[in-house]
Amino acid sequence: MHWSIADMLLDLVHNSVQADAGHVRIELRRSDGEMAIRIEDDGKGMDSHQQVLAIDPFYSEPGKHAGRRVGLGLPFLVQTVTTVDGWYRLESEAGRGTTLEIRFNPDHIDCPPMGDVAGMLAAMLTFSGQYELEFHRSVRASDTDTESEYRVSRAELLHALGELETVESRSLLRDFLHSQEAHISSV
């Protein structure tokens, strides 16, 4: 089982990239007592039968791993959200892509920690392959009623850094993402 929400999201985005998604959009919106997350891709998608199977941990898409019978990315997240009285909606169409929306109370006593968002995002952005990833994170502080946010696009980062595989690029990317997260948490 993954330790943090960030690790569960990273796993899902890896699934999207593996499912030939050319475009992945992720939104993380934190407000007082609620975390709302939306992941949308234009990958292979699933028909209604596959959607039921996808939240079953004892199922893995045939052909993805020969001989493997379990697939855990989506079930981990769905199980966690339902455990903490949260809500989820999975929408998918074969050949069109998949959208997963979840909402939960991050302060629920059984909720895993959010984890390292900057590290999660660095890993999401640096999988091999050609895909666009857009990430939007916002945090609303209820006491001051102010919202802080940042947006990141893989295409813009690739344009700025040239590539995302060398140590130089990866360390600059890490510093860049940490500065976005530091800004959010300082507000």
Partner: protein
């Protein structure tokens, strides 16, 4: 007080400064390829922290001629986190149970010192010996 976010222009400027430094160091042209397994079991075992420790250690030693990639599972789920290292003059190796401490040993002993970290080798320990021509010798052949 809110901390300032780094802008894309600032990021680009930093990249240009580093590019110049890299151009001088990379004259030997030799490259190291490292792949970290980031499948479900890898992530659950701490592959994200392994990846971060790897970039930090390579950066610390200014090892710029290294490409770091991420894949799904490398087929050794019992030994996650896993990492494959390929470099000139060394056999390709898949290391297992690669915690951040082990990452530092692999960078220092394997990549810099050119010595295998024996107790963490899980696959292809000596491909230069085990391979006959282009064909791997496997049990039963």
């Amino acid at each position: 007080m809110a901390q300032e976010k780094m802008t894309l222009d600032e990021l680009r400027k930093l990249r240009d400064e580093k590019k110049h430094a890299v151009a001088v160091r990379d004259s030997a042209g030799k490259t190291v390829d490292i792949t970290v397994g980031m499948g479900t079991s890898g992530i659950a075992s701490g592959a994200k922290e392994t990846l971060q420790a790897l970039v930090a250690e390579l950066e610390k030693h200014k090892l710029t001629n290294v490409a770091v990639r991420q894949s799904g599972g490398l087929g050794l789920e019992h030994a996650e986190p896993t990492m494959e290292v390929r470099m000139p003059d060394m056999p390709p190796v898949i290391y297992g149970r690669v915690t951040p401490d082990v990452v530092r040993r692999i960078v220092n002993h394997h990549i810099i010192g050119r010595e295998l970290v024996d107790e963490h080798i899980y696959d292809r320990p000596a491909a230069d010996i085990l391979y006959a021509g282009d064909h791997p010798i496997v049990d039963g052949e």
